[in-house]
């Protein structure tokens, strides 16, 4: 009796997961076809009249952050990414930062926006606020994981990535980025955000008419045609991160047996640089955003990741090295204090466990 109930539950769960995967492409396909609202076609953002209320931002480059698959909407992302992002903005001076893109929707609409299951996602968001490691996060991760697969799929990707690129351009414009200015744009994508960043590059390069770089933080990326439109792809990976390796295993175009794939041609052309971040993990206490795990040099993982991004931007001339050093010096005490506070918090949590 118990076994048959268990079987029924497992079968039901598998069917639900398959159903979720089957329905995953419909959001972007329906958007394109105008099924959800009567929009005939998305407008070309670079041809829209610029918003007169927004003045051009003085920064000489822009950075767009695309969160990992734990995101519920652009603002509701795991706490570790929020804290990390706030510090990143301070330590990367002179760069126009765009943090509010939800990369798992073609319309930048989060899961708690006007959707069929928005109430369920709000409930899950509430649970996550109470417990960041709530088991139901699995549902959100899975939902977003399917969208990553849509982005990587050569049939759906062109539509999905167009929608995301469209939203990125709009977000850049709303912050004062002038299309046609040629100012370089760097997309920093964590986990699945890495794939969406590479996919969106297909459209960002022609729409923005600017060099596009992608900095993947443990990104799970496919052999995407977007690689042809990138100036550079930096892949930061942790030695203890098995998730980022999935991209290499799952996407045949990344296997060495296909030298003419987009990935292998980009790699042969020297466009892709893989950079080890030491013993960092994808999730858990030793992840890329951790304030309580440290590198062998004594830097917290969070700061080490931010600084590596800063180094790459400086190396490519997207950030002024002197300003970068000054910003680091100015924010070091705050970073130390934050690390100490988080270590104390973790110690208290450990002590309170029965």
């Amino acid at each position: 009796m118990i076994l048959s109930t268990l079987n029924l539950l497992i079968t039901g769960l598998i069917l639900l997961i398959v159903l979720g995967a089957l329905l995953a492409p419909f959001e972007s396909l329906g958007w394109w076809a105008g099924w959800f609202g009567e929009k005939p076609a998305p407008p070309r953002p670079d041809q829209a009249a610029p918003d007169a209320r927004v003045t051009e931002h003085p920064a000489q480059s822009a950075l767009v952050y695309l969160s990992g698959i734990g995101a519920i909407d652009a603002a509701s992302i795991p706490q570790e990414e929020i804290d990390w992002g706030k510090m990143a903005v301070k330590r990367l001076p002179g760069v126009l930062v765009v943090p509010d893109i939800y990369p798992y929707s073609v319309t930048n609409a989060g899961l708690t926006a006007d959707r069929t299951f928005s109430k369920v996602y709000r409930w899950m968001e509430q649970r996550r606020l109470e417990n960041p490691y709530d088991a139901l996060q699995f549902v959100i991760n899975l939902r977003n994981l399917f969208q990553v697969a849509v982005s990587a799929d050569r049939r759906y990707g062109p539509i999905y990535n167009l929608g995301v690129a469209n939203e990125i351009v709009k977000a850049l414009q709303s912050r004062g980025y002038r299309v046609g200015s040629g100012k370089p744009v760097a997309l920093v994508g964590f986990s699945g955000g890495g794939q969406v960043a590479v996919g969106a590059a297909s459209y960002l390069a022609p729409l923005l008419q600017a060099p596009i770089r992608v900095i993947s933080v443990g990104g799970v990326m496919s052999d995407d045609p977007g690689l042809n439109h990138l100036t550079r792809l930096y892949h930061l990976y942790g030695e203890a991160d098995p998730v980022q390796k999935l991209g290499h295993w799952l996407y045949a175009g990344r296997w060495k047996w296909f030298p003419n794939s987009d990935w292998n041609r980009a790699a042969a052309a020297g466009k892709i640089e893989e950079i080890s971040m030491g013993p960092m993990g994808h999730n858990g206490a030793k992840n890329y955003f951790s304030w309580t795990a440290f590198t062998s040099e004594g830097t917290s993982h969070a700061i080490a990741t931010i600084d590596k991004i800063g180094d790459l931007l400086a190396q490519d001339g997207l950030i002024d090295p002197a300003a970068l050093q000054a910003a680091r010096a100015a924010t070091d005490p705050e970073a130390r204090a934050y690390e100490a506070a988080r270590i104390a918090e973790a110690a208290r949590a450990r002590a309170s466990r029965p």
Partner: protein, 222 residues
Amino acid sequence: MLDFIRLMWIGTIEAMRLNPQAFAYVEAENRTGTVVLAIAIVGGASLLLGQSVILFVNRVRPARFVLSLLLNGIIFTLSLLVWAFAIWLTGRILFPNAIPFATVARLVALGAAPYVFGFLVLLPYAGNFIGKVLAVWSFLVVLAALTTLANGNFGAALICTTIGWVIITVMSATIGRPVIALRNWLWKRLTGSDMEASVQDLLTQFATSEQAEPQRDKGGRR
């Protein structure tokens, strides 16, 4: 109605299991024709559902979307019948026999059974692979069904199936062109979409400009 659906399901599963008893039953019983026909139409519709990205790209409205699925089911069934005819003709010439065309048609139409799961082609990323698996499976069903029909003579079944397929391919590129053009015209009239437009074709206008042409456009036609 429920009984009919149950029979369709059994027919689909047994064909996919390459069950010789099921093939023998379909061979012997003329009345299985309706069930087999329904499997073929559902297979065609399900396959198009799996490949429906082309309908979305063409911005087909929901009502026409459903119509397209049905139409594809019928077109798919007709193409199976043409294949069956080529196989039947090959068999008649190379291995003289008195097997009626209707029997061959029923067994070849069973080749649509794996495509009942054609909707799985929708699955992001894995879908393309599943599509290829279903195509091979479909061929195996036809081959197994014809082997049963040829009293276990696998060689004869393989020769007829392969030559039949070659005939269809050659005809499609030569004298069959007007038929394909008619099919495409009918499709466009009913669904309002082009059967062969690629995703890149339709997005190119949006995504690129003359000043910033992509370096390479894989698979897209200009």
